[in-house]
Subunit: 192 residues, 2 copies
């Protein structure tokens, strides 16, 4: 997605060889117009996927997931939670997820009410790095007996292997910006 | 907001006298079309506020905050974070927040890059209960030297006192559904 890559070139900040900060427009401060275009692009890419629901994980995947759900005709959007509030009383699916940027181990949960065997689920997230978060969401989908029809990432850090890992498991992966390397301010992209 | 109140009557679940679950359409599974109407209603209520930025706190305030920012002409939307990722390196404002539903104490943070003295900030959240979360966000705004031009809540639990607490501090508060009492399935609203 050309406009996204241009924005990353302009406002993204590479730190060392592993970290890409895009928090001025994607995952702390959010550029709503760009987010809508991100949703439209995912809707275009996955228009034949048969998706009936969009799934992401709190918090930074939510804007892109909402925009995608809207662009696909107002599908229901579900965000997995990292804490178990005392209002989640009807039982939930849970899976472990290791956070690359935070260095922590979290549990992602979805209420059994909102993932059903008949759901065809499109997974959307802001970053695809090692694939840990997506693998956790796929585990929730598997537990529900539902089907994942694709994984969409706004930004992929290709060398961290998440896309290959998911594709090797048989999933379709679409990333709107594929970063191939970071050396501080030198950010390289695939296919541009 | 009539449609929201009707939806709470239909799909909200009261538990005891304090808890209202709206996770089938607002804060776990999200009805995107309803969320857009929520954003349009906040934009209508706050159209003369002079807001230049929308602020919420992760995670469940994000859909309504994005929708509001869009309806106000694609204002920047910022969500405060409850964890300090290692990518937040430029310094941040921090304030403590007690969670009513989770019984925990969290710290909310916003990077100093995304709250500035010139910002006129509209605070949006899914729930207004005791006002703790809003007070935390107002503290961040104060630290930045910015101005809060209003607080919008999708659902207010009036008896928990948050709206009065904020209004006593001089802030304008608009809630789209004001719940006056819950006794399990008996959910009462103000002005309907």
């Amino acid at each position: 997605m050309k406009k996204l890559i241009e924005r990353i070139r302009k406002d993204g900040i590479g730190i060392g060889t592993e970290i890409l900060r895009v928090d001025s427009f994607l995952n702390h401060q959010v550029d709503v117009a760009l987010t809508d275009e991100i949703g439209e692009e995912f809707a275009r890419l996955f228009r034949d996927s048969g998706a009936t629901k969009v799934l992401t994980v709190e918090a930074s995947g939510i804007p892109a997931a909402v925009a995608t759900a809207r662009a696909m005709g107002n599908l229901p959007m579900v965000f997995a939670k990292k804490a178990a509030p005392n209002t989640m009383v009807d039982g939930f699916y849970a899976a472990p997820v290791k956070s690359f940027t935070k260095g922590t181990l979290a549990t992602v949960r979805v209420s059994k009410n909102y993932l059903k065997a008949e759901d065809k689920v499109l997974v959307i997230d802001d970053f695809l790095a090692t694939g840990e978060a997506a693998i956790g969401l796929l585990d929730l989908i598997r537990q529900a007996g539902a089907k994942c029809v694709g994984v969409g990432a706004v930004v992929e850090k290709e060398w961290q292997g998440g896309a290959k890992r998911l594709e090797d498991l048989g999933y379709r992966v679409e990333s709107l910006a594929i970063v191939t390397s970071i050396h501080d301010d030198d950010i390289q992209f695939k296919n541009v």
